[in-house]
Amino acid sequence: MATMANRLKLSGFSEMLTTSRQRRENFYGYLFLTPWLIGFFGLFLGPGLFSLYLSFTKYDVLSAPEWIGLKNYIKMFSDDPLFYTSLGRTFYYAGVGIPLGVFGSMFLAILLNAKLRGLAAYRTLFFMPSLVPIVASVVLWKWLLHADFGIINQWLVDIGWSDPPGWFGDRRWAIPSLIFMGLWQGLGGTRMIIFLAGLQGIPESLYEAASIDGATAFHKLRHVTIPLLTPTIFFNMVLGVIGGLQVFTAAFVATEGGPGFATTFYSLHLYRQAFDYWNMGYAATLAWFFALVIVSLTIWQLRLSRRWVFYYGS
Protein backbone atom coordinates (compact mmCIF):
# COMPACT_ATOMS: atom_id res chain seq x y z
CA MET A 1 0.00 0.00 0.00
CA ALA A 2 2.74 2.39 1.04
CA THR A 3 4.77 1.79 -2.07
CA MET A 4 1.69 2.26 -4.20
CA ALA A 5 0.99 5.61 -2.58
CA ASN A 6 4.62 6.55 -3.08
CA ARG A 7 4.53 5.69 -6.69
CA LEU A 8 1.40 7.71 -7.19
CA LYS A 9 3.00 10.64 -5.43
CA LEU A 10 6.08 10.35 -7.60
CA SER A 11 4.08 10.52 -10.77
CA GLY A 12 2.11 13.46 -9.46
CA PHE A 13 -1.11 11.50 -9.47
CA SER A 14 -2.06 12.19 -5.86
CA GLU A 15 -1.79 15.89 -6.43
CA MET A 16 -3.86 15.59 -9.57
CA LEU A 17 -6.59 13.98 -7.58
CA THR A 18 -6.49 16.09 -4.47
CA THR A 19 -5.52 19.71 -4.96
CA SER A 20 -8.43 22.03 -5.47
CA ARG A 21 -6.81 23.56 -8.50
CA GLN A 22 -6.62 20.13 -10.09
CA ARG A 23 -10.19 19.30 -9.15
CA ARG A 24 -11.23 22.47 -10.87
CA GLU A 25 -9.22 21.62 -14.01
CA ASN A 26 -10.81 18.18 -14.16
CA PHE A 27 -14.28 19.56 -13.66
CA TYR A 28 -14.13 22.26 -16.30
CA GLY A 29 -12.01 20.23 -18.70
CA TYR A 30 -14.60 17.48 -18.80
CA LEU A 31 -17.53 19.90 -18.70
CA PHE A 32 -16.41 21.57 -21.92
CA LEU A 33 -15.41 18.28 -23.47
CA THR A 34 -18.90 16.84 -22.90
CA PRO A 35 -20.50 17.70 -26.27
CA TRP A 36 -17.60 16.11 -28.11
CA LEU A 37 -17.60 13.09 -25.77
CA ILE A 38 -21.31 12.51 -26.46
CA GLY A 39 -20.56 12.67 -30.19
CA PHE A 40 -17.51 10.44 -29.86
CA PHE A 41 -19.42 7.70 -28.05
CA GLY A 42 -22.80 8.16 -29.73
CA LEU A 43 -21.78 8.77 -33.34
CA PHE A 44 -18.33 7.22 -33.55
CA LEU A 45 -17.25 4.60 -31.04
CA GLY A 46 -20.71 3.15 -30.39
CA PRO A 47 -21.63 2.82 -34.07
CA GLY A 48 -18.11 1.59 -34.86
CA LEU A 49 -18.37 -1.26 -32.37
CA PHE A 50 -21.95 -2.02 -33.37
CA SER A 51 -20.77 -2.23 -36.95
CA LEU A 52 -18.11 -4.72 -35.86
CA TYR A 53 -20.86 -6.81 -34.27
CA LEU A 54 -23.01 -6.52 -37.41
CA SER A 55 -20.14 -7.83 -39.50
CA PHE A 56 -20.76 -11.22 -37.88
CA THR A 57 -24.48 -11.17 -38.61
CA LYS A 58 -27.06 -11.28 -41.36
CA TYR A 59 -29.08 -8.08 -41.04
CA ASP A 60 -31.57 -6.25 -43.25
CA VAL A 61 -32.65 -3.47 -40.79
CA LEU A 62 -36.25 -4.68 -40.63
CA SER A 63 -35.66 -7.96 -38.77
CA ALA A 64 -33.24 -8.54 -35.90
CA PRO A 65 -29.57 -9.30 -36.72
CA GLU A 66 -28.89 -13.03 -36.95
CA TRP A 67 -25.46 -14.26 -35.80
CA ILE A 68 -23.68 -16.14 -38.59
CA GLY A 69 -20.11 -16.16 -37.31
CA LEU A 70 -17.41 -15.70 -39.90
CA LYS A 71 -19.64 -16.34 -42.90
CA ASN A 72 -19.50 -12.74 -44.11
CA TYR A 73 -15.73 -12.74 -43.97
CA ILE A 74 -15.52 -16.04 -45.82
CA LYS A 75 -17.93 -14.75 -48.44
CA MET A 76 -15.87 -11.57 -48.84
CA PHE A 77 -12.64 -13.41 -49.60
CA SER A 78 -13.95 -16.42 -51.49
CA ASP A 79 -17.37 -15.70 -52.96
CA ASP A 80 -17.54 -12.05 -54.00
CA PRO A 81 -15.71 -11.30 -57.26
CA LEU A 82 -16.68 -7.64 -56.96
CA PHE A 83 -14.74 -7.39 -53.71
CA TYR A 84 -11.44 -7.93 -55.53
CA THR A 85 -12.44 -5.96 -58.64
CA SER A 86 -13.63 -2.96 -56.66
CA LEU A 87 -10.55 -3.02 -54.44
CA GLY A 88 -8.34 -3.19 -57.54
CA ARG A 89 -10.12 -0.29 -59.24
CA THR A 90 -9.91 1.78 -56.07
CA PHE A 91 -6.15 1.20 -55.92
CA TYR A 92 -5.84 2.04 -59.61
CA TYR A 93 -7.69 5.32 -59.10
CA ALA A 94 -5.78 6.25 -55.95
CA GLY A 95 -2.44 4.86 -57.10
CA VAL A 96 -2.44 7.00 -60.23
CA GLY A 97 -4.46 9.97 -59.06
CA ILE A 98 -2.79 10.69 -55.72
CA PRO A 99 0.87 10.83 -56.84
CA LEU A 100 -0.13 12.92 -59.89
CA GLY A 101 -2.18 15.17 -57.66
CA VAL A 102 0.43 15.63 -54.95
CA PHE A 103 3.38 16.24 -57.28
CA GLY A 104 1.25 18.38 -59.60
CA SER A 105 0.24 20.60 -56.69
CA MET A 106 3.85 20.81 -55.59
CA PHE A 107 4.94 21.80 -59.07
CA LEU A 108 2.33 24.57 -59.26
CA ALA A 109 3.28 25.83 -55.81
CA ILE A 110 6.96 25.99 -56.79
CA LEU A 111 6.06 28.03 -59.88
CA LEU A 112 3.89 30.33 -57.78
CA ASN A 113 6.64 30.77 -55.21
CA ALA A 114 8.90 32.54 -57.71
CA LYS A 115 9.25 36.21 -56.92
CA LEU A 116 7.45 37.49 -59.99
CA ARG A 117 4.72 40.01 -60.61
CA GLY A 118 1.06 39.03 -61.02
CA LEU A 119 1.31 35.67 -59.28
CA ALA A 120 -1.55 36.37 -56.86
CA ALA A 121 -3.94 36.43 -59.82
CA TYR A 122 -2.63 33.06 -61.00
CA ARG A 123 -3.00 31.61 -57.51
CA THR A 124 -6.63 32.76 -57.33
CA LEU A 125 -7.36 31.28 -60.73
CA PHE A 126 -5.76 27.92 -59.84
CA PHE A 127 -7.82 27.81 -56.66
CA MET A 128 -11.19 28.43 -58.37
CA PRO A 129 -11.91 24.87 -59.64
CA SER A 130 -11.62 23.53 -56.09
CA LEU A 131 -14.58 25.75 -55.18
CA VAL A 132 -16.91 24.09 -57.68
CA PRO A 133 -19.17 21.61 -55.85
CA ILE A 134 -18.32 18.09 -56.89
CA VAL A 135 -21.76 17.33 -58.34
CA ALA A 136 -21.60 20.51 -60.44
CA SER A 137 -18.12 19.51 -61.54
CA VAL A 138 -19.40 16.12 -62.69
CA VAL A 139 -22.16 17.75 -64.74
CA LEU A 140 -19.56 19.98 -66.37
CA TRP A 141 -17.03 17.23 -67.09
CA LYS A 142 -19.60 14.83 -68.47
CA TRP A 143 -20.34 17.53 -70.99
CA LEU A 144 -16.71 18.45 -71.72
CA LEU A 145 -15.92 14.76 -72.23
CA HIS A 146 -19.12 13.84 -74.05
CA ALA A 147 -18.26 11.15 -76.60
CA ASP A 148 -19.96 12.84 -79.56
CA PHE A 149 -20.60 16.47 -78.72
CA GLY A 150 -17.93 17.15 -76.10
CA ILE A 151 -15.59 19.94 -77.06
CA ILE A 152 -12.53 17.92 -76.08
CA ASN A 153 -13.35 15.13 -78.51
CA GLN A 154 -14.13 17.67 -81.23
CA TRP A 155 -10.65 19.11 -80.72
CA LEU A 156 -9.10 15.65 -80.71
CA VAL A 157 -10.79 14.91 -84.03
CA ASP A 158 -9.52 18.25 -85.38
CA ILE A 159 -5.93 17.39 -84.54
CA GLY A 160 -6.29 14.05 -86.26
CA TRP A 161 -7.44 11.50 -83.66
CA SER A 162 -10.26 10.12 -85.77
CA ASP A 163 -11.53 7.74 -83.10
CA PRO A 164 -11.25 9.57 -79.77
CA PRO A 165 -12.11 7.83 -76.47
CA GLY A 166 -15.65 7.57 -75.17
CA TRP A 167 -14.41 8.79 -71.75
CA PHE A 168 -17.02 8.20 -69.05
CA GLY A 169 -18.86 5.79 -71.33
CA ASP A 170 -15.79 3.70 -72.12
CA ARG A 171 -14.63 0.94 -69.76
CA ARG A 172 -10.94 1.72 -70.28
CA TRP A 173 -11.31 5.49 -70.07
CA ALA A 174 -13.85 5.89 -67.28
CA ILE A 175 -11.28 5.89 -64.46
CA PRO A 176 -8.83 8.15 -66.32
CA SER A 177 -11.76 10.54 -66.90
CA LEU A 178 -12.41 10.63 -63.16
CA ILE A 179 -8.71 11.20 -62.54
CA PHE A 180 -8.63 14.15 -64.99
CA MET A 181 -11.63 15.66 -63.28
CA GLY A 182 -10.05 15.13 -59.86
CA LEU A 183 -6.82 16.78 -61.00
CA TRP A 184 -8.67 19.78 -62.35
CA GLN A 185 -10.46 20.18 -59.03
CA GLY A 186 -7.63 19.28 -56.72
CA LEU A 187 -4.33 20.51 -58.13
CA GLY A 188 -4.81 24.17 -57.26
CA GLY A 189 -6.82 23.73 -54.08
CA THR A 190 -5.92 23.46 -50.41
CA ARG A 191 -3.11 21.03 -51.19
CA MET A 192 -1.32 23.64 -53.28
CA ILE A 193 -1.81 26.19 -50.49
CA ILE A 194 -0.24 23.75 -48.02
CA PHE A 195 2.75 23.42 -50.35
CA LEU A 196 3.00 27.20 -50.61
CA ALA A 197 3.06 27.42 -46.82
CA GLY A 198 5.77 24.76 -46.78
CA LEU A 199 7.82 26.63 -49.38
CA GLN A 200 7.59 29.85 -47.42
CA GLY A 201 8.99 28.02 -44.41
CA ILE A 202 12.26 27.27 -46.21
CA PRO A 203 14.92 29.72 -44.93
CA GLU A 204 16.12 32.15 -47.60
CA SER A 205 19.68 31.72 -46.32
CA LEU A 206 19.83 28.20 -47.74
CA TYR A 207 19.17 29.52 -51.25
CA GLU A 208 21.73 32.28 -50.77
CA ALA A 209 24.31 29.78 -49.65
CA ALA A 210 23.54 27.62 -52.66
CA SER A 211 23.87 30.62 -54.98
CA ILE A 212 27.28 31.46 -53.58
CA ASP A 213 28.31 27.89 -54.33
CA GLY A 214 27.18 28.49 -57.91
CA ALA A 215 24.10 26.26 -57.82
CA THR A 216 21.71 26.49 -60.77
CA ALA A 217 17.93 26.71 -60.34
CA PHE A 218 17.71 22.98 -60.96
CA HIS A 219 20.33 22.24 -58.30
CA LYS A 220 18.48 24.40 -55.80
CA LEU A 221 15.25 22.59 -56.56
CA ARG A 222 16.90 19.20 -56.29
CA HIS A 223 19.05 19.80 -53.22
CA VAL A 224 17.23 22.48 -51.22
CA THR A 225 13.55 22.83 -52.15
CA ILE A 226 12.52 19.20 -52.53
CA PRO A 227 14.37 17.83 -49.48
CA LEU A 228 12.88 20.56 -47.32
CA LEU A 229 9.44 19.91 -48.75
CA THR A 230 9.50 16.18 -47.93
CA PRO A 231 7.47 16.68 -44.71
CA THR A 232 4.79 18.51 -46.73
CA ILE A 233 4.84 15.85 -49.45
CA PHE A 234 4.46 13.20 -46.78
CA PHE A 235 1.57 15.02 -45.10
CA ASN A 236 -0.27 15.44 -48.40
CA MET A 237 0.35 11.82 -49.36
CA VAL A 238 -1.13 10.56 -46.09
CA LEU A 239 -4.21 12.77 -46.43
CA GLY A 240 -4.44 11.91 -50.12
CA VAL A 241 -4.47 8.17 -49.50
CA ILE A 242 -7.10 8.41 -46.75
CA GLY A 243 -9.34 10.58 -48.95
CA GLY A 244 -8.59 9.01 -52.33
CA LEU A 245 -9.41 5.46 -51.29
CA GLN A 246 -12.84 6.60 -50.12
CA VAL A 247 -13.74 8.05 -53.53
CA PHE A 248 -17.50 7.86 -53.96
CA THR A 249 -19.45 10.90 -55.08
CA ALA A 250 -17.61 11.60 -58.34
CA ALA A 251 -17.97 8.03 -59.58
CA PHE A 252 -21.49 7.59 -58.29
CA VAL A 253 -22.83 10.76 -59.89
CA ALA A 254 -20.82 10.48 -63.13
CA THR A 255 -21.19 6.82 -63.98
CA GLU A 256 -23.07 5.02 -61.17
CA GLY A 257 -20.14 2.65 -61.06
CA GLY A 258 -20.31 1.78 -64.76
CA PRO A 259 -19.92 1.17 -67.56
CA GLY A 260 -19.96 -2.52 -66.67
CA PHE A 261 -18.54 -2.05 -63.14
CA ALA A 262 -15.57 -0.11 -64.56
CA THR A 263 -15.87 2.54 -61.83
CA THR A 264 -17.43 0.43 -59.11
CA PHE A 265 -14.98 1.51 -56.45
CA TYR A 266 -14.90 -0.14 -53.05
CA SER A 267 -17.17 2.46 -51.44
CA LEU A 268 -19.71 2.03 -54.25
CA HIS A 269 -19.70 -1.72 -53.84
CA LEU A 270 -20.24 -1.23 -50.10
CA TYR A 271 -23.03 1.28 -50.70
CA ARG A 272 -24.84 -1.10 -53.06
CA GLN A 273 -24.60 -3.99 -50.61
CA ALA A 274 -26.00 -1.79 -47.84
CA PHE A 275 -28.65 0.32 -49.52
CA ASP A 276 -29.64 -1.53 -52.70
CA TYR A 277 -29.59 -5.10 -51.38
CA TRP A 278 -29.96 -4.30 -47.65
CA ASN A 279 -27.11 -6.70 -46.82
CA MET A 280 -26.20 -4.52 -43.84
CA GLY A 281 -24.21 -7.23 -42.09
CA TYR A 282 -22.08 -7.94 -45.14
CA ALA A 283 -21.64 -4.21 -45.81
CA ALA A 284 -20.37 -3.82 -42.23
CA THR A 285 -17.82 -6.54 -42.95
CA LEU A 286 -16.68 -4.68 -46.05
CA ALA A 287 -16.47 -1.46 -44.00
CA TRP A 288 -14.32 -2.95 -41.25
CA PHE A 289 -11.94 -4.54 -43.71
CA PHE A 290 -11.69 -1.17 -45.46
CA ALA A 291 -10.85 0.60 -42.20
CA LEU A 292 -8.16 -1.99 -41.59
CA VAL A 293 -6.67 -1.35 -45.05
CA ILE A 294 -6.63 2.43 -44.57
CA VAL A 295 -5.20 2.33 -41.05
CA SER A 296 -2.48 -0.16 -42.09
CA LEU A 297 -1.56 1.93 -45.12
CA THR A 298 -1.30 5.02 -42.91
CA ILE A 299 0.90 3.26 -40.37
CA TRP A 300 3.02 1.82 -43.18
CA GLN A 301 3.50 5.30 -44.62
CA LEU A 302 4.50 6.60 -41.19
CA ARG A 303 7.12 3.86 -40.90
CA LEU A 304 8.39 4.41 -44.41
CA SER A 305 8.59 8.15 -43.84
CA ARG A 306 11.59 7.73 -41.54
CA ARG A 307 13.59 6.74 -44.59
CA TRP A 308 12.77 9.65 -46.85
CA VAL A 309 11.27 12.54 -44.90
CA PHE A 310 13.83 15.13 -43.86
CA TYR A 311 13.11 17.48 -40.96
CA TYR A 312 15.28 20.59 -41.15
CA GLY A 313 16.99 21.47 -37.91
CA SER A 314 16.50 18.13 -36.19
Binding site: M16, E25, Y28, G29, Y30, F32, L33, P35, W36, L37, F40, G42, L43, F44, P47, G48, F50, S51, L54, V61, L108, L111, L112, A114, L116, L119, Y122, F126, M128, P129, L131, V132, P133, V135, S137, L140, W141, W143, F149, I151, L187, T190, I193, I194, G198, A217, P231, I242, Q246, T249, V253, S267, L270, A274, F275, M280, A283, A284, A291, V295
Partner: protein
Protein backbone atom coordinates in the same frame (compact mmCIF):
# COMPACT_ATOMS: atom_id res chain seq x y z
CA UNK B 1 30.56 52.73 -62.48
CA UNK B 2 32.78 52.01 -65.44
CA UNK B 3 35.76 51.90 -63.14
CA UNK B 4 34.17 49.29 -60.95
CA UNK B 5 33.33 47.08 -63.87
CA UNK B 6 36.81 47.39 -65.25
CA UNK B 7 38.23 46.33 -61.96
CA UNK B 8 36.18 43.09 -61.96
CA UNK B 9 38.13 40.13 -63.28
CA UNK B 10 36.73 39.45 -66.71
CA UNK B 11 35.67 35.85 -66.04
CA UNK B 12 33.51 36.93 -63.12
CA UNK B 13 31.89 39.60 -65.26
CA UNK B 14 31.06 37.09 -67.90
CA UNK B 15 29.56 34.75 -65.29
CA UNK B 16 27.41 37.60 -64.02
CA UNK B 17 26.06 38.48 -67.46
CA UNK B 18 25.43 34.81 -68.10
CA UNK B 19 23.52 34.47 -64.83
CA UNK B 20 21.33 37.46 -65.57
CA UNK B 21 20.46 36.06 -69.00
CA UNK B 22 19.64 32.74 -67.44
CA UNK B 23 17.35 34.46 -64.93
CA UNK B 24 15.45 36.09 -67.74
CA UNK B 25 14.91 32.74 -69.44
CA UNK B 26 13.79 31.22 -66.15
CA UNK B 27 11.29 34.01 -65.68
CA UNK B 28 9.92 33.54 -69.19
CA UNK B 29 9.62 29.78 -68.72
CA UNK B 30 7.81 30.26 -65.41
CA UNK B 31 5.29 32.63 -66.97
CA UNK B 32 4.71 30.32 -69.93
CA UNK B 33 4.08 27.33 -67.68
CA UNK B 34 1.82 29.33 -65.36
CA UNK B 35 -0.20 30.68 -68.26
CA UNK B 36 -0.61 27.23 -69.78
CA UNK B 37 -1.84 25.93 -66.42
CA UNK B 38 -4.13 28.93 -66.03
CA UNK B 39 -5.76 28.23 -69.39
CA UNK B 40 -6.35 24.60 -68.43
CA UNK B 41 -7.93 25.57 -65.13
CA UNK B 42 -9.99 28.39 -66.57
CA UNK B 43 -11.34 26.79 -69.72
CA UNK B 44 -13.83 24.42 -68.04
CA UNK B 45 -15.14 27.33 -65.96
CA UNK B 46 -15.54 29.45 -69.08
CA UNK B 47 -17.17 26.52 -70.86
CA UNK B 48 -19.75 26.07 -68.08
CA UNK B 49 -20.87 29.66 -68.40
CA UNK B 50 -20.78 29.66 -72.20
CA UNK B 51 -22.72 26.38 -72.51
CA UNK B 52 -25.29 27.54 -69.99
CA UNK B 53 -26.08 30.49 -72.27
CA UNK B 54 -26.44 28.51 -75.50
CA UNK B 55 -29.51 26.95 -77.03
CA UNK B 56 -29.69 23.18 -76.92
CA UNK B 57 -29.27 23.08 -80.72
CA UNK B 58 -26.08 25.13 -80.50
CA UNK B 59 -24.68 22.79 -77.88
CA UNK B 60 -25.54 19.68 -79.82
CA UNK B 61 -23.89 20.60 -83.07
CA UNK B 62 -20.73 19.10 -84.48
CA UNK B 63 -19.30 22.58 -84.89
CA UNK B 64 -18.61 23.73 -81.33
CA UNK B 65 -19.62 27.30 -80.57
CA UNK B 66 -17.21 28.93 -78.16
CA UNK B 67 -19.77 31.64 -77.53
CA UNK B 68 -23.55 31.61 -77.91
CA UNK B 69 -24.92 33.46 -80.94
CA UNK B 70 -27.42 35.17 -78.65
CA UNK B 71 -26.91 34.65 -74.87
CA UNK B 72 -29.91 32.70 -73.62
CA UNK B 73 -30.35 34.22 -70.17
CA UNK B 74 -33.73 32.55 -70.11
CA UNK B 75 -31.96 29.22 -69.50
CA UNK B 76 -31.32 30.30 -65.92
CA UNK B 77 -34.98 31.08 -65.35
CA UNK B 78 -35.98 27.77 -66.93
CA UNK B 79 -33.91 25.84 -64.38
CA UNK B 80 -36.14 27.17 -61.61
CA UNK B 81 -39.27 26.28 -63.56
CA UNK B 82 -38.13 22.78 -64.55
CA UNK B 83 -37.18 21.65 -61.04
CA UNK B 84 -37.61 23.16 -57.54
CA UNK B 85 -34.03 24.40 -57.59
CA UNK B 86 -34.77 27.48 -55.46
CA UNK B 87 -36.24 25.23 -52.81
CA UNK B 88 -33.18 22.94 -52.92
CA UNK B 89 -30.78 25.87 -52.60
CA UNK B 90 -32.89 27.13 -49.69
CA UNK B 91 -32.63 23.71 -48.03
CA UNK B 92 -28.85 23.76 -48.41
CA UNK B 93 -28.73 27.21 -46.83
CA UNK B 94 -30.99 26.05 -44.01
CA UNK B 95 -28.61 23.19 -43.22
CA UNK B 96 -25.63 25.53 -43.06
CA UNK B 97 -27.65 27.90 -40.85
CA UNK B 98 -28.01 25.03 -38.37
CA UNK B 99 -24.48 23.63 -38.57
CA UNK B 100 -22.42 26.83 -38.50
CA UNK B 101 -23.59 28.00 -35.04
CA UNK B 102 -23.19 24.39 -33.88
CA UNK B 103 -19.57 24.05 -34.88
CA UNK B 104 -18.76 27.53 -33.58
CA UNK B 105 -20.27 26.89 -30.15
CA UNK B 106 -19.45 23.25 -29.47
CA UNK B 107 -16.22 23.30 -31.48
CA UNK B 108 -14.94 26.23 -29.42
CA UNK B 109 -15.93 24.53 -26.17
CA UNK B 110 -14.07 21.37 -27.11
CA UNK B 111 -11.05 23.28 -28.35
CA UNK B 112 -11.06 25.37 -25.15
CA UNK B 113 -11.06 22.19 -23.09
CA UNK B 114 -8.11 20.75 -25.03
CA UNK B 115 -6.14 23.99 -25.15
CA UNK B 116 -6.54 25.40 -21.64
CA UNK B 117 -7.30 22.68 -19.11
CA UNK B 118 -5.06 20.03 -17.73
CA UNK B 119 -7.13 17.04 -16.72
CA UNK B 120 -6.73 13.31 -16.32
CA UNK B 121 -7.03 11.53 -19.65
CA UNK B 122 -6.74 14.60 -21.84
CA UNK B 123 -3.90 13.23 -23.96
CA UNK B 124 -5.83 10.04 -24.62
CA UNK B 125 -8.95 11.88 -25.73
CA UNK B 126 -6.87 14.13 -27.93
CA UNK B 127 -5.17 11.23 -29.68
CA UNK B 128 -8.53 9.46 -30.08
CA UNK B 129 -9.97 12.60 -31.59
CA UNK B 130 -7.18 12.87 -34.15
CA UNK B 131 -7.53 9.13 -34.80
CA UNK B 132 -11.14 9.58 -35.91
CA UNK B 133 -9.85 11.38 -38.98
CA UNK B 134 -8.19 8.19 -40.17
CA UNK B 135 -11.25 5.93 -39.95
CA UNK B 136 -13.35 5.81 -43.13
CA UNK B 137 -16.91 7.08 -42.72
CA UNK B 138 -18.25 3.76 -43.99
CA UNK B 139 -17.42 2.11 -40.65
CA UNK B 140 -19.98 4.17 -38.74
CA UNK B 141 -22.34 4.65 -41.67
CA UNK B 142 -24.53 1.59 -41.29
CA UNK B 143 -25.13 1.73 -37.51
CA UNK B 144 -25.74 5.46 -37.77
CA UNK B 145 -28.27 4.85 -40.49
CA UNK B 146 -29.95 2.14 -38.40
CA UNK B 147 -29.98 4.47 -35.40
CA UNK B 148 -31.59 7.35 -37.26
CA UNK B 149 -33.95 4.94 -39.02
CA UNK B 150 -35.16 3.58 -35.68
CA UNK B 151 -35.50 7.07 -34.26
CA UNK B 152 -37.71 7.93 -37.27
CA UNK B 153 -35.28 10.65 -38.33
CA UNK B 154 -35.03 9.70 -42.00
CA UNK B 155 -36.22 12.66 -44.10
CA UNK B 156 -35.20 15.15 -41.43
CA UNK B 157 -32.06 17.26 -41.25
CA UNK B 158 -31.12 15.85 -37.83
CA UNK B 159 -28.70 13.19 -39.17
CA UNK B 160 -27.00 15.83 -41.32
CA UNK B 161 -26.59 18.45 -38.61
CA UNK B 162 -26.24 16.66 -35.27
CA UNK B 163 -22.48 16.17 -35.64
CA UNK B 164 -21.89 19.91 -35.87
CA UNK B 165 -23.53 20.34 -32.47
CA UNK B 166 -21.32 17.64 -30.96
CA UNK B 167 -17.94 19.25 -31.54
CA UNK B 168 -18.13 19.56 -35.31
CA UNK B 169 -15.41 17.07 -36.21
CA UNK B 170 -11.75 16.56 -35.46
CA UNK B 171 -10.34 18.93 -38.05
CA UNK B 172 -12.36 21.94 -36.90
CA UNK B 173 -11.58 21.25 -33.24
CA UNK B 174 -7.89 20.88 -34.01
CA UNK B 175 -7.88 24.16 -35.92
CA UNK B 176 -9.60 26.06 -33.11
CA UNK B 177 -7.37 24.46 -30.48
CA UNK B 178 -4.26 25.54 -32.37
CA UNK B 179 -5.59 29.08 -32.48
CA UNK B 180 -6.45 29.21 -28.77
CA UNK B 181 -2.98 27.91 -27.93
CA UNK B 182 -1.50 30.86 -29.81
CA UNK B 183 -3.36 33.33 -27.53
CA UNK B 184 -1.19 34.28 -24.50
CA UNK B 185 -2.33 32.59 -21.31
CA UNK B 186 -1.73 35.81 -19.37
CA UNK B 187 -5.03 37.10 -20.70
CA UNK B 188 -6.90 34.15 -19.16
CA UNK B 189 -4.95 34.44 -15.92
CA UNK B 190 -5.70 38.14 -15.60
CA UNK B 191 -9.42 37.52 -16.09
CA UNK B 192 -9.22 34.64 -13.60
CA UNK B 193 -7.67 36.97 -11.00
CA UNK B 194 -10.60 39.31 -11.55
CA UNK B 195 -12.84 36.42 -10.58
CA UNK B 196 -14.12 35.49 -14.04
CA UNK B 197 -15.45 31.95 -14.45
CA UNK B 198 -13.96 29.76 -17.20
CA UNK B 199 -17.05 30.12 -19.37
CA UNK B 200 -16.85 33.89 -18.86
CA UNK B 201 -13.19 33.79 -19.96
CA UNK B 202 -14.09 31.86 -23.11
CA UNK B 203 -16.97 34.18 -23.91
CA UNK B 204 -15.45 37.52 -22.92
CA UNK B 205 -11.72 37.08 -23.53
CA UNK B 206 -11.04 34.30 -26.02
CA UNK B 207 -13.99 34.30 -28.44
CA UNK B 208 -13.54 37.97 -29.43
CA UNK B 209 -9.88 37.23 -30.21
CA UNK B 210 -10.83 34.09 -32.13
CA UNK B 211 -12.83 35.88 -34.83
CA UNK B 212 -10.43 35.01 -37.68
CA UNK B 213 -10.40 31.35 -36.67
CA UNK B 214 -14.17 31.27 -36.20
CA UNK B 215 -14.71 32.86 -39.61
CA UNK B 216 -12.45 30.26 -41.18
CA UNK B 217 -14.33 27.46 -39.44
CA UNK B 218 -17.69 28.90 -40.52
CA UNK B 219 -16.51 29.09 -44.13
CA UNK B 220 -15.13 25.55 -44.11
CA UNK B 221 -18.39 24.29 -42.63
CA UNK B 222 -20.39 26.12 -45.29
CA UNK B 223 -18.25 24.68 -48.09
CA UNK B 224 -18.47 21.20 -46.61
CA UNK B 225 -22.25 21.24 -46.30
CA UNK B 226 -22.78 22.88 -49.66
CA UNK B 227 -20.66 20.24 -51.33
CA UNK B 228 -21.88 17.26 -49.30
CA UNK B 229 -23.62 14.62 -51.35
CA UNK B 230 -23.62 11.27 -49.62
CA UNK B 231 -25.33 12.17 -46.33
CA UNK B 232 -28.24 14.07 -47.87
CA UNK B 233 -28.49 11.38 -50.53
CA UNK B 234 -29.06 8.51 -48.11
CA UNK B 235 -31.02 10.39 -45.43
CA UNK B 236 -33.38 12.37 -47.68
CA UNK B 237 -35.67 10.71 -50.17
CA UNK B 238 -38.42 13.31 -50.48
CA UNK B 239 -37.80 15.61 -53.44
CA UNK B 240 -38.92 18.73 -51.54
CA UNK B 241 -36.29 18.09 -48.86
CA UNK B 242 -33.34 17.68 -51.27
CA UNK B 243 -30.25 19.84 -51.04
CA UNK B 244 -28.81 21.56 -54.12
CA UNK B 245 -26.18 18.82 -54.59
CA UNK B 246 -28.69 15.96 -54.45
CA UNK B 247 -31.16 17.99 -56.50
CA UNK B 248 -28.67 18.62 -59.28
CA UNK B 249 -28.02 14.91 -59.60
CA UNK B 250 -31.78 14.27 -59.58
CA UNK B 251 -32.17 16.80 -62.40
CA UNK B 252 -29.38 15.11 -64.32
CA UNK B 253 -30.98 11.69 -63.97
CA UNK B 254 -34.60 12.44 -64.94
CA UNK B 255 -35.14 9.98 -67.81
CA UNK B 256 -34.93 11.69 -71.19
CA UNK B 257 -38.23 10.24 -72.42
CA UNK B 258 -40.17 12.18 -69.81
CA UNK B 259 -38.48 15.50 -70.24
CA UNK B 260 -37.13 17.97 -72.76
CA UNK B 261 -33.45 17.87 -73.66
CA UNK B 262 -31.65 19.83 -70.99
CA UNK B 263 -27.87 19.77 -71.29
CA UNK B 264 -27.83 23.56 -71.41
CA UNK B 265 -30.12 23.77 -68.37
CA UNK B 266 -27.89 21.37 -66.44
CA UNK B 267 -24.94 23.63 -67.13
CA UNK B 268 -26.96 26.60 -65.91
CA UNK B 269 -27.92 24.69 -62.76
CA UNK B 270 -24.27 23.77 -62.15
CA UNK B 271 -23.36 27.44 -62.51
CA UNK B 272 -26.17 28.53 -60.18
CA UNK B 273 -25.00 26.07 -57.56
CA UNK B 274 -21.45 27.39 -57.78
CA UNK B 275 -22.39 31.09 -57.49
CA UNK B 276 -22.78 31.18 -53.67
CA UNK B 277 -19.37 29.57 -53.19
CA UNK B 278 -17.62 31.91 -55.61
CA UNK B 279 -19.34 34.91 -54.02
CA UNK B 280 -18.19 33.82 -50.58
CA UNK B 281 -14.68 33.35 -51.92
CA UNK B 282 -14.65 36.81 -53.47
CA UNK B 283 -15.83 38.34 -50.21
CA UNK B 284 -13.57 36.47 -47.81
CA UNK B 285 -10.66 35.15 -49.83
CA UNK B 286 -8.07 35.29 -47.10
CA UNK B 287 -10.09 33.08 -44.75
CA UNK B 288 -10.03 30.27 -47.31
CA UNK B 289 -6.29 30.15 -47.01
CA UNK B 290 -6.21 30.82 -43.28
CA UNK B 291 -7.26 27.26 -42.48
CA UNK B 292 -3.85 26.08 -43.61
CA UNK B 293 -2.01 28.76 -41.66
CA UNK B 294 -4.07 28.21 -38.52
CA UNK B 295 -3.55 24.50 -38.35
CA UNK B 296 0.14 25.34 -37.98
CA UNK B 297 1.09 23.45 -41.12
CA UNK B 298 4.47 24.98 -41.54
CA UNK B 299 5.52 21.36 -41.08
Amino acid sequence: MAATIERLPSTELRADVYRRGRNRIQKAVTYVLLTAAALMFAFPLFWTVSSSLQTWKELRSFEPHLLPAVPQWGNYARVFVSVPFARWMGNSFLITAITIPGVIITGSLTAYSFARFNYIGKEIWFVLMLGTMMIPTQVTLIPQYVLFFNLKLINTYVPLTIGSWLGGGAFMIFLLRQFIMSIPRDLDEAALMDGASPIRILWGVLLPLMKPALTTVAILQFLGDWNEFFGPFIYLNRVDLFTAAVGLRFFQNIPLETSDPRDHLLMAAAAIMTIPVITLFAAAQRYFIQGVVLSGLKI
